[in-house]
Symmetry: C2
Subunit: 264 residues, 2 copies
């Protein structure tokens, strides 16, 4: 009797970082969906809408590796190692990340980690909430006569502090968008007050593009109170700038201050 | 003989601003494709990849309303009027714009124009080239230890000049992304030189995400010459910042300057 051989499937490890966009499962690109459809493994974050997993093959391994500030279930190092292990074991790993992989997403660290194991890795951009979430509220990050630029800053750096760049941003004429800044709102607002911008329009948008979306519009000196009143919670983005005055809810605010100014 | 009546289709005018993304027809969102599929009319810009029109119904009216700096075929006012006229005549107009509608896209002006005719208008965000084009080159706009923010500025304002915000941006520690700035490259480079940033890494990327993509990586004091040598043409984006040093082409540049420094 001749010896039997089993032919093992040759595993070709590869990694695709995929931006899942701001939350709405339709706000993902065609290219991202195609990558998800052919994934053997999907490692996904807390900010990824789980409906997006429906694009994947039923046989794909789906692993939640979410971490939220203050509640680490997986460290970045854990995620990196898991990503490489799954690629070597199963083949094509899609690393699905909220927003865009390179906007405070630590995507480049994952690319380097993959490269250290000689695993080919590419990235598919996603809609960053920094632009798309204000846009869905019809707040344009740029608008002729109001803003010629926008500056996107993290509210929480590696050390847990607000970014030093925020001091400069508060001074600038750019539309300032702060991601992961809700917990530091008071401190951030203070920077704008220090620049004399007490009346600058501000919007805070929670869970933009999803069913849980909530928006609060005010000015620098009222926004902390408004956010508390409306019970806005993370994830939320902050938008500081004259462009916020274009939001429909801003009209009554403008009229109030106009009336106040006329009384005085 | 009884009189005959013909029943006319009731036109329900509406307008959807749609971001077409950076160029690759797969880098458009599922939501955008769905809107295009049900459009009666599509008004599209120069920076929109025409392959995207294949998602549309064959019966949809497709009109090119492109304008490039220095070669106006349609003014913004022409586009606004056309958009409203088509909506009233045919129904659902998709206004298809390169990138994101609100990133130097004058999208908000179109929303206001539609509102003045009481035509319902919404916007579907698109991938802005400011983030996605560097990302596809594996240049992350943010990266721990290198950049805690990115600042996106127009190289060509309403008056045709570079934005005043660029002076401040050149001074900041943000990754600075300039859209529509290629023609002003010399002037923009001067701003960084004035801040003593002669060695700051710079990338110039033409037609990012398309078959015509070209990239040049250098530093502030060499980039103008490199761009000329390689014949880079518009549309192109400029990226100034330490994150550009992560691009694979930057390694030899770093080694050259290191060797030079050791000789001295």
């Amino acid at each position: 009797m001749s010896k039997e051989y089993t032919v093992e499937r040759v595993i070709e490890p590869r990694i695709t970082l995929v931006g899942a966009g701001p939350g709405d499962p339709e706000l993902i690109t065609m290219k991202a969906v195609k990558a998800i459809q052919v994934a053997d493994v999907i490692l996904y974050d807390a900010l990824v809408n789980e409906e997006i997993l429906n694009y994947a093959s039923p046989s794909a391994v789906k692993v939640y590796v979410g971490k939220r500030s203050g509640n680490h279930s997986y460290s970045q190092d854990d995620v990196n190692k898991l990503m490489v292990r799954y690629a070597l074991e199963f083949g094509h790993v899609v690393r699905l990340k909220g927003g865009d992989p390179f906007v405070f997403g630590r995507g480049y660290e994952e690319l380097i980690f993959a490269a250290n194991y000689s695993i080919p890795a590419t990235a598919i951009p996603g809609l960053s909430s920094s632009i798309s979430v204000p846009g869905l509220q019809q707040i344009p990050v740029t608008h002729r006569g109001l803003s010629e630029s926008f500056w996107v800053v993290t509210g929480t750096t590696a050390t847990g502090e607000i970014s030093n760049d925020l001091y400069e941003a508060a001074r600038s004429k750019a539309t300032v968008v702060v991601l992961m800044g809700l917990k530091k709102l008071k401190k951030i607002v203070k920077l704008f007050e220090n620049e004399g911008k007490h009346k600058l329009p501000v919007a805070v948008i929670q869970s933009g593009s999803t069913d849980h979306e909530k928006v609060v519009v005010g000015i620098v000196e009222t926004i902390v109170e408004l956010v508390e009143e409306k019970g806005i919670a993370a994830p939320a983005i902050l938008v500081f700038g004259e462009v916020v005055s274009l939001h429909p809810s801003f009209q009554p605010i403008r009229e109030f201050y106009k009336a106040l100014a006329e009384e005085i």
